[in-house]
């Protein structure tokens, strides 16, 4: 099986997610980009699992999904709270915790 297209797709998705995290200010979008990066890595894990003929990569992908779900719960709650107090979802506005 040729794994190259999957890996390339995974790399492209990861890069898009990465750039999104770095350049976007809206917390919701940043959050979605993080999800994109997680799923890109999931894709890579599953691909390698298939290539190697074992299940370890797929198990890892499941773990990532579980963690991502938990993260969404906590992260969205935080974003909601910030939005309620500051009337804004911009990550640059929430910069009080600093030197």
């Amino acid at each position: 099986m040729n794994t190259e297209p999957y890996i390339v797709l995974s790399a492209i998705l990861f890069t898009i997610g990465c750039i999104g995290v770095l350049v976007r200010r809206n917390a919701i979008v940043v959050f979605m980009c993080v999800e994109l990066m997680l799923n890109a890595s999931n894709l890579a894990l599953v691909t390698f699992a298939k290539a190697n003929g074992n299940l370890e990569g797929q198990v890892a992908a499941f773990f990532v999904m579980v963690v991502a779900a938990a993260e969404v719960v906590v992260g969205l709650a935080i974003i909601m709270t910030i939005f309620r107090t500051r009337r804004s979802a911009s990550v640059d506005d929430a910069s009080l915790l600093k030197y």
Binding site: C18, L22, V30, V91, D92, K98
Partner: protein, 646 residues
């Protein structure tokens, strides 16, 4: 001095091998314990001992003297071979192979010292009862006096250099306490400190000598060191000799550590008498004579002793000529006379006995004169300036007569004790070296000059008293000790009768066949007497026949000015030690502030500054954190790649 080496080879240096103490000698420890107990009771007992403190202090000293007398008689009764008695009290220090017992050694030498210290010391105690009668702290004074006597007795009775060191330090402490007894006077406090600090320099020599002895011989006991001294290499022995000389210089106020003695006159006069006659300054002479087994094998150090002694005996004499303070004249004369003793001690086997002989006679006549000076001061309302005295012979007749005995003794008037002892030292000096002999002879002449000057200015010439002063004779408690000491000053020469003292001491310090002189001894004695007479005559013509001004004339020769300034002893110390020392210290302070503190503080400032820059990274923007996270991850990947490729 070439022949000193030869002497060392010929002379049989005696080895210390004491017999166990039996019978009455078992009480030896009590000689030290009595005054020590007195000191403890008086100093720890506080005010409730005030009413009888002086009596107890005197009683312990007198008891110690009586005991010394009994022991001396017992020693006389023993055979000549059995006169070294050792008493082992207890183990003092035991560390590994190093074992020091608190051992006492009672032999011919320490027997004489015991009599001098306790005898003259007791008389000074008695005198102090009267002299300090009006001092509210008299009891404390007696406590210190007892401590002084106890420390000095420890010094001369110890059978071990470490024991000597114990007494040595005790004497230093007691002298500090006594010189600064009137510590509310800033000058007295400063003098005490000066004496203590200068003595510390000497003490360093002593402790180094003890350590070197332990390293070399494995023991510090007289017995062990004297037995092994012959085999050690001469460099080590000379080093020990020089260190012991340094120690002796400190305690005995020899050049270059002489500066404290003149300032020490700030203490009460009985203290001066005690320091100058019975204790303290004689310790250095004792140390050199006791260490004869070292010095006999260390000719270089022995020569150094002679040089130091000659310089000191002239130095002190010159200072004595120019001072107007009666006590300072006497202090200068002490320096000079101790110089004579050190000279004799430095001349080796030929001179040890005469050093001790002069030490004894000097103890008598100097204690006599110091106490006499105290009596004069007592009469003149504590004025010490001789220019305010004059014609006191009628006002204080007993003091005058007793002082005159001391005076005749110190200048070496034929028949008086000082005549015999000084004559012998000068004779020995001439037999050894012409230059040394001439210096000693000149010293005798100068001594005669300044002592005559003192006599004339105090007891003769015209009255120059302050108008409110009414001189009166001192009470009996002060004059009786004076009379006793005057008698001893006259009769002290009897110790030489039939060369008794030389033979008595020969088992300790060795003996030598009679040295030959270029001229017969009687001619030399005549010359010495003539020089002394010339000194007396010079004083008579310069002081006795003209009017003495009430204030010291300012227009004087440079020599007089130098002598008034103690021959610039303090200035020399200042230039050579004090000022370079303080400059070194201020340099070190600058170094500490700039380099050491600079390094520490600079490091702290650098860390702080760097942290200040670094914390800017925590800017609160999540996206910049994400960027650094990405950068970090990229770096890790890069590193992995590099590692894998290599």
């Amino acid at each position: 001095m070439p022949d000193v080496t030869a002497l060392a080879a010929e002379a049989l240096v005696p080895v210390v091998e004491p017999f166990a103490a039996d019978g009455v000698f078992g009480l030896l420890w009590l000689v030290i314990a009595l005054p020590l107990a007195g000191a403890v009771v008086l100093l720890a007992g506080g005010r409730r001992t005030d009413p009888w403190g002086h009596l107890l202090g005197t009683a312990t000293a007198a008891g110690s003297f009586l005991l010394s007398l009994v022991l001396f008689v017992a020693l006389l009764g023993r055979g000549e071979e059995e006169r070294q008695i050792g008493q082992e009290l207890f183990t003092w220090i035991q560390v590994g192979g190093f074992d020091v017992g608190m051992d006492l050694l009672y032999d011919q030498l320490s027997a004489l010292f015991l009599l001098l210290i306790t005898g003259v010391g007791s008389l000074i105690h008695v005198y102090s009862i009267g002299y300090m009668a009006h001092d509210p702290r008299r009891r404390r004074f007696f406590g210190y006096l007892n401590l002084f006597v106890a420390a000095m007795l420890m010094l001369v009775l110890a059978a071990d250099y470490l024991g000597v060191f114990l007494g040595w330090e005790g004497v230093g402490l007691a002298s500090y306490l006594l010189i600064g007894f009137w510590q509310y006077k800033p000058s007295a406090a400063a003098a005490a400190k000066k004496a203590f600090v200068i003595n510390r320099v000497g003490d360093m020599g002593m402790s180094l000598a003890v350590m070197l002895m332990f390293v070399t011989f494995g023991t510090t006991a007289f017995a062990g060191v004297s037995a092994a001294a012959g085999e050690a290499d001469s460099f080590t022995l000379n080093a020990i000799g020089f260190l012991l000389l340094l120690a002796a210089c400190g305690k005995s106020a020899q050049v270059p550590l002489q500066a404290w003695l003149l300032d020490a006159m700030e203490g009460p006069t009985p203290v001066s008498a005690l320091i100058h006659a019975a204790t303290m300054v004689t310790a250095g002479v004792y140390l050199v004579v006791r260490s004869n087994f070292i010095f006999e094998n260390a000719p270089v150090a022995q020569t150094a002793v002679v040089i130091v002694a000659v310089v000191t005996l002239l130095w002190g004499a010159v200072i004595g000529c120019a001072k107007d303070d009666i006590k300072k004249v006497l202090a200068g004369s002490t320096m000079s006379q101790i110089g004579y003793m050190m000279l004799a001690a430095g001349l080796g086997v030929a001179g040890y006995a005469f050093a001790i002989f002069h030490l004894l006679t000097h103890g008598f006549f100097k204690a006599n004169m110091f106490l006499g000076a105290g009596s004069v001061m007592h009469a003149m309302d504590d004025d010490v300036d001789m220019r305010h005295y004059g014609m006191l012979q009628k006002a204080v007749p007993v003091t005058f007569l007793t002082f005159a005995m001391g005076y005749l003794a110190i200048i070496g008037f034929p028949g008086f004790s000082g005549f015999w002892s000084k004559d012998k030292i000068i004779e020995t000096a001439f037999a050894d070296n012409l230059v040394v002999g001439l210096a000693a002879l000149a010293g005798a002449g100068i001594t005669a000059f300044y002592m005559t000057r003192l006599m004339l200015m105090t007891f003769f010439t015209d009255k120059r008293w302050a108008p409110e002063v009414h001189p009166h004779e001192s009470p009996r408690v002060m004059t009786v000790p004076l009379v006793v000491l005057a008698a001893l000053s006259v009769l002290g020469g009897f110790l030489l009768l039939g060369d008794w003292i030389v033979e008595w001491l020969s088992p300790v310090v060795g003996a030598e066949e009679h040295h030959e002189l270029a001229v017969p001894a009687i001619v030399l004695t005549g010359i010495i007497t003539l020089v002394v007479a010339a000194g007396v005559a010079l004083a008579w013509f310069t002081i006795g026949r003209s009017e003495v001004p009430r204030t010291a004339p300012a227009q004087v020769s440079p020599v007089t000015r130098a002598a008034r300034a103690d021959l610039y002893g303090d200035a020399i110390n200042d230039t050579l030690v004090v000022r370079p020392g303080s400059r070194l210290v201020s340099g070190l302070v600058v170094f500490d502030r700039s380099v050491v503190d600079g390094a520490v503080m600079g490091q702290a400032a650098a860390t702080g500054g760097l942290s200040d820059r670094l914390r800017r990274v925590q800017n609160g923007f999540v996206r910049s954190y994400a960027l650094s996270l990405l950068g970090g991850a990229a770096l890790v990947v890069l590193a992995l790649l590099v590692v894998n490729l290599v």
